[in-house]
Amino acid sequence: MAIARSVVVGLLLAVLSLPFAATAMAENQAAVDVEQPPPLDNARCLRCHADHDEKFVVRPDGSRHEIFIDKTVIERSVHAKVSCVGCHSDIAKLPHDKPLSMSIGCVSCHATEWEKLKGTPDAGRSRLAKVAEQSDLYLHSVHAKPAATNQSRVAAACHDCHEGHNVGAPDAAQRAEHRLKNPEVCGTCHEKQKRDYLASVHGKAITEKKDAKSAVCSDCHTPHDIGQPKSDPAKLRLAENCGSCHKDAQRTYLGTYHGQVTRLGYTNAAKCFDCHGGHGIAKDDDPTSKVHADNRLKTCNSCHEDAGVGFASFLAHGDPDDFAKYPVLYLAKLFMQVLVIGVMALFWGHVLLWLYRELMDRRQGIGHFENLDQPETVYVRRFDATWRWIHMLFAISTMVLALTGTSLLFAHTDWAKAVVDFIGGPRVEAIIHRVAAVTWISIFFFHLWVAGANIWRNRASFKWFGSRSLLPNWKDLRDVIGMFRWFFGLSPRPEFDRWTYWQKFDYWAPFWGAMIIGVSGLIMFFPNFTSHLVPGWVFNVATLVHAEEALLATVFLNTVHFFNVHFRPSRFPMSTTIFTGAIPLDEYKHDHRIEYERMVASGELDKHLVKRISRRVDMLSSFVATVLIVSGLTLLTLVLVGRATMH
């Protein structure tokens, strides 16, 4: 009865209201065109999809699907102004197909929008540039390749990771939420990794302490630039990304051989996860940690098969700037730096003063000048072939050592990468460095033997502190003082015997160098062997002093030695004496006056005079000298660039 009554009332109402309805219609009609399909605005979608009471639908196959979309979530998202069908673009009419196909073109839409914006004044402020860059990375990532289980879809599409309706702007609250959810999101597919991760320090910090700063998947793996985990670029990127939080650990790591090789772009050496583990990373005092004291040697052994106990005490993150933690390293570095700075300050001072004085003198016509009217025809034989060859091989092997060594030390520079790439990677570099080292040491001992034999042969007349000896004597001290007096214009330039004090210094310096560089180098030459004999920190010290001393040598040779021998005004641009063995008589008189006069007096001089060297030999020796000098200066430049840009 109630039904019948209400139906009648309803009908009555309907009939009565008809005329009014018609006028109402006439009033608004202009606003819309009913011949066209109605616009697909969000309100229409949300009528069904924002219904709190009916969040799920059951499909004909019986499966339940959530269709609910929280309106407030969309309104908070970066896409708040984009309409539903802006993304769900295959909806051309309502009602739409069910289930809805998920062909959402995030990448293409962002690309088109960015194309439109690029080059306009707004481009700089837009996030789209970043999005375009990230989508490009994604497109080249493994996630954009067909899934292994189903070739008809990609491994992971945008919406598999991004909560489609809830994309937050940078710094928005959603971002923080998503961060914490990241392991879950990636874990949907990468289940084992998720399990390991959740048990790790990183995972526990997120789940137990809700520490949003702890590393989530994307911090290490990057969000979009996901590579095959076994590929070199992916490994390197991972190692690099640890450093975005563990800055000190990364800095100290990069100071070690491991870090240098990694920085050069090679995966030969241990990277963070090789020692610390990846997903299941644990603190080093955790007995399950790969770097826990009990497990450490085993971890080293996974690359260094025959490594001795010394490896376990190697300070893989030793920091020579941290006195409290690494006093020995600190002191070693301090000592080396004082040495480097002291030596360089002294000799650069010497060079500058010399340059100044010689230029002053030359303006007044004092010093040694080439007589152009009477070109030099007489030379004095100063070095025989043995010494010339020794010097040549010494020079070459030293440069090779310096180049291959500093390209590791300065692994951060582009030139180092280029050099290492060119010679074929760190493995080849290690071999070249060792070959050059063996050459160097062999020459060193060969020279000792030759020198010893010479002294033995002349033992009757040889005076240890005599004029032919390279041992320093009192005259050298007087000469030093004399030179400085000359620099300051207090007296004329001292006169020298066969060896000047700077030549003696150049001669003895490699003894010191051979000691420091040689001993430390030998320790590192066969690390597996030496690690049975010495504790790990010795390797740290060895690496440190080896590098500092090598730097000192490189800079000294290519500045001070070059000036003393080649660049001082009376010699400029070069002296070829060490290559031809012959010194022009005039120059000889100027630089070794005492020996010259002694030889004249004893009538010995004639024995040592040689004819003017041939033009061909002259050119050849100039050529060789040029090549060596240019190489040396290039090396110097590279080293200075490296040193200046370090850290």
Binding site: M25, P38, K98
Partner: protein
């Protein structure tokens, strides 16, 4: 005796479907009186039911049977049916073609109706009522008088109409617009 029983059971089991087939034909014929031959109604307050979606047919009849849906007549009719019979009837009627019965209506009413459909009803029924969404029946060429009565049921607070979303849609529009809309639907042919 045992044999006879066995035979009876076997025969019953084997001929079950065949029997049901004929029963459904007969059962469906009982609907003709009100819903017309093949479910194409000829009375303006009686809905056409031939060609409605099977799921819809089965659902509404079960809702009546279990007292979840308001009706003037149908709840009494389906009460006697088993769920299986309801499903069979639904299958039978769903297999019939949907045959619109286009009805005349004043042009202004149709224009008003079209507009109301354009704004509110098209998402679930399509512009002509011939493109129904999930859950909804076709409305093109359905009897408009019948449809107005159905809308009345949705509006009445005392009557149970379980489909919430359709109910909400009815509340969204003025009664006169809804009425015009069903006249628009009623005037459609395929």
């Amino acid at each position: 005796m045992r044999n006879v029983l066995m035979t009876a059971i076997l025969t019953g089991a084997l001929s079950g479907p065949a029997l049901a087939q004929t029963n459904i034909e007969t059962l469906a014929r009982t609907c003709n009186g009100c819903h017309g031959l093949g479910g194409v109604s000829v009375g303006s307050s009686m809905p056409s039911i031939g060609g409605l979606p099977r799921a819809y047919l089965a659902r509404v009849m079960k809702e009546w049977k279990y007292g979840q849906r308001a009706a003037v007549t149908m709840n009494r009719i389906v009460r006697g049916f088993s769920d299986d019979e309801i499903d069979a009837l639904a299958t039978w009627f769903a297999a019939q073609p949907w045959t619109p019965v286009p009805q005349q209506a004043p042009a202004e009413l149709l224009a008003l109706g079209k507009r109301a459909v354009w704004t509110t009803c098209t998402d679930c029924h399509g512009m002509t009522g011939g493109d129904p969404d999930r859950d909804a029946p076709p409305l093109d060429g359905q009897w408009s008088k019948y449809m107005e009565l159905e809308l009345e049921k949705y509006r009445s607070p005392d009557l149970a109409m379980p489909h919430r979303q359709m109910g909400k849609a009815v509340d969204e529009v003025k009664p006169e617009d809804a009425s015009a809309a069903v006249h628009w639907f009623g005037a459609q042919k395929r």
